[in-house]
């Protein structure tokens, strides 16, 4: 095994041998802690009632993280301390030449302070605030010092969108992208972009770890991934969470003084977030079953088609996708449509086609709620009152519209049988941040040019 493969990683094995010069530095930890009643996995931190995961010959295993290779109590986790074998440099590795707004600059300086101090921090910035660009300054400083940096997200799509942007911003810095189905093997790099699941393979590796879209599934629902983030960074390392829609649990940590928060309520282009228009429609699924669109939906689509607007159409379930597509094709035969969901093997191609303007309409589940940017689109949600659409999901979906400075506006229409708490809360949040942005003078006046 190449010795660099072990720097800041944790390898699961019964035995491991390295060149004798490294042997003394090798860290060996038991893969599980066994107590009277529990076993606690040292890779994902989750505990399990011992009796439920006992193997016939008396060993125990972790039922939470077996997808990355099963951890058993008879194994060890092996690693080498991260040595930061990267050049310290005086010239800037940053090739990005864009300009930050004053508000972005303030956040960006704050991020740099967090990185330097090794703190845990939450950057709460609205959808389309330009979060990635705000990271560049802090990361540039860290790279110059030879620090190791990890950028993680619960969503593969987000990782795949971030990777080329970081590659373009730091062309001279080698980066590695890690996710479940990747074909290229792991190699040691100063900049790692990965899914939060992949963090389970790291141990005290990163001086700086950024977790983007921290409230997204599965990170928010999986305590093992929180643990993974804490373990993947060095003990004195910085941890930065990014999101437009922090969960209550995350905000509670601010009150408990476990993290600090900075807040940016305006988009980088200085236009307000498009507000949600709610339209009531009754029994839309029954209409679809009869090969019809509810009349309000049909009227809205007709208007968009005549105005040549391209749009994302969100539905609650995978089973709604093809049915809706068939009806839309029937009614608007010239429209070029496609459907996507989490299990769709051609998902990335279809998203790219939408980006390239080949498609007029992409019908999707919540899989595209975040992390994707299309220029000049409208957004429609059919069945917004369904339980799959949480407040965070709805705010993120609404945040797909008007993201580009050249096209800062877009229609956001929700169709529902009634107003749910999630819809109400999403509308309130968007109005709230717009008001806040206006009060703090972050919007470009009230008349749009």
């Amino acid at each position: 095994m190449q010795i660099e493969q072990l720097f800041g990683r944790q390898i699961l094995s019964e035995q491991l041998s390295v060149a004798s010069s490294w042997q003394s530095q090798l860290i060996r930890r038991p893969a599980m802690m066994v107590t009277d009643q529990w076993v606690i996995c040292q890779r994902c931190g989750q505990r399990t009632v011992k009796q439920t995961v006992r193997l016939p010959q008396g060993d125990y295993y972790c039922p939470h993280c077996f997808q990355l290779g099963r951890v058993t109590a008879s194994q060890w986790l092996w690693s080498l301390p991260e040595p930061n074998q990267f050049a310290v440099r005086t010239d800037s590795p940053l090739d990005w030449t864009g300009e930050l707004t004053a508000a972005q600059k303030a956040c960006s300086r704050q991020i740099d302070e967090v990185f330097t101090a090794g703190k845990t921090h939450l950057l709460w910035a609205v959808t389309g605030a330009g979060k990635t660009e705000m990271l560049f300054y802090g990361i540039e400083q860290a790279l110059k010092k030879g620090l190791r940096i990890g950028i993680a997200s619960p969503r593969i799509d987000v990782c795949l969108e971030l990777a080329p942007r970081f590659q373009a911003a730091f062309t001279s810095i080698p980066q590695v992208v890690l996710y479940g189905e990747m074909k290229r093997p792991y190699h040691y790099c100063q900049l790692t972009i990965c899914t939060t699941h992949q963090l389970l393979r790291f141990y005290h590796a990163f001086d700086i770890l950024v977790v983007d879209e921290v409230d997204a599934f599965p990170f928010a629902a999986d305590p093992g991934l929180n643990y993974a983030a804490e373990q993947a960074k060095k003990e004195a390392g910085a941890l930065l969470y990014l999101t437009a829609t922090p969960s209550k649990a995350l905000l509670r940590q601010e009150k408990q003084k476990q993290l600090t928060v900075s807040y940016l309520p305006a988009r980088y282009h200085g236009y307000p977030l498009p507000e949600i228009k709610l339209k009531l429609t009754s029994r839309w699924r029954q209409s679809l079953a009869k090969q019809r669109l509810p009349s309000v939906v049909k009227a809205t689509l007709k208007k968009m088609v005549t105005q040549k607007r391209r749009f994302l159409l969100f539905v609650p379930r995978v089973s709604d996708l093809t049915r809706l597509q068939a009806i839309i094709q029937l009614q608007f035969s010239a429209l070029k449509t496609a459907t996507v969901h989490a299990g769709d093997v051609n998902r990335h191609e279809k998203v790219q086609q939408m980006r390239d303007g080949v498609l007029d309409c992409l019908i999707t589940t919540t899989i595209l709620e975040r992390g994707v940017t299309f220029a000049d689109i409208d957004v429609i949600v059919l069945g917004a009152d369904d339980a799959v659409f949480s407040t965070a999901a709805l705010v993120q979906i609404a945040g797909r519209a008007g993201r580009k400075a050249e096209f800062p506006e877009g229609l956001v229409a929700f169709f529902a049988e009634g107003q749910t708490r999630a819809i109400k809360e999403a509308r309130r949040q968007i109005k709230f941040v717009n008001r806040k942005a206006r009060q703090t003078g972050l919007l470009r006046g009230d008349t749009h040019d």
């Binding site: 439920t52 995961v53 006992r54 193997l55 016939p56 010959q57 060993d59 295993y61 039922p63 077996f66 997808q67 099963r70 058993t72």
Partner: protein, 226 residues
């Protein structure tokens, strides 16, 4: 709160009126209704007599062409579809031993219908057993009294069956040896149990051995066919 072992969605057990009224202990549900709904059971009266696959005729075309040993009959509980593939992969290849419990009651009921003298699980070789930590077939049969009548010939498997194509599978040589004295099998009705019936090569090798050892009848039961 418990969750479905396969899809991790929260489990909301729904009691039937019968379960409420008869005061018997309720068996814990391990899979959600969505996952259970995707299982495709093979009814006995719609199955091939030879291999147990879903088939309108008495024997499928495979069994008409090739039957060794000739009077071996296999029963399969489910088609090997996507959900069962996911189950087998998580149970056997990822090693999630909790999944052994999912089909135990059903398998016990099925085994009882055969009324066999001996129930013999297909063994795994010692190297796999060491690495996996369990024999997946023995796990399925935990609620049944079994006999370790077979052992593997090799200590280490050269190539897993799941990596071979049909021709290579059919050419596999006898992988088993008898693990007990022959007289134990004499005039006995024996039921061999395995996880998946694919070409039938594995279970039929086992059946041949047991017939040669003197068993009066050898039958097969597998969780899946496909």
């Amino acid at each position: 709160m418990t969750e479905c072992l396969l899809c991790h969605r929260p489990l909301l057990p729904q009691l039937t009126l019968w379960q409420v009224l008869n005061f018997q202990p309720v068996e814990d549900e391990l899979l959600c209704q969505t996952c259970v709904g995707q299982l495709e059971p093979i009814p006995v009266d719609q199955a091939c007599t030879g291999c147990g696959r879903l088939c309108a005729k008495k024997y499928c075309s495979d069994c008409l062409r090739w039957q060794t040993p000739p009077n071996f009959k296999n029963r399969a509980l489910f088609r090997y579809n996507d959900i069962l593939k996911q189950y087998i992969s998580q149970y056997k290849f990822y090693g999630d031993y909790r999944l052994k419990n999912v089909f135990q009651t059903q398998i016990k009921r099925e085994v009882e219908r055969f009324d066999a003298d001996l129930v013999i699980p297909i063994p795994v070789n010692p190297a796999t057993l060491q690495q996996r930590g369990f024999n997946q077939v023995a796990g399925l049969l935990e609620k049944v009294e079994t006999t370790d009548g077979l052992a593997t010939r090799e200590l280490v498997k050269r190539q897993p069956q799941s990596e071979k194509n049909r021709q290579q599978r059919l050419q596999t040589e006898q992988p088993f040896v008898i693990n007990l004295a022959s007289e134990k099998f004499n005039k006995k009705r024996v039921l061999i149990v395995d996880d998946i019936y694919t070409t039938g090569r594995t279970i039929r090798h086992a059946a041949t051995l047991l017939q040669n050892a003197g068993a009066s009848e050898v039958m097969g039961l597998t969780l899946a066919h496909g």
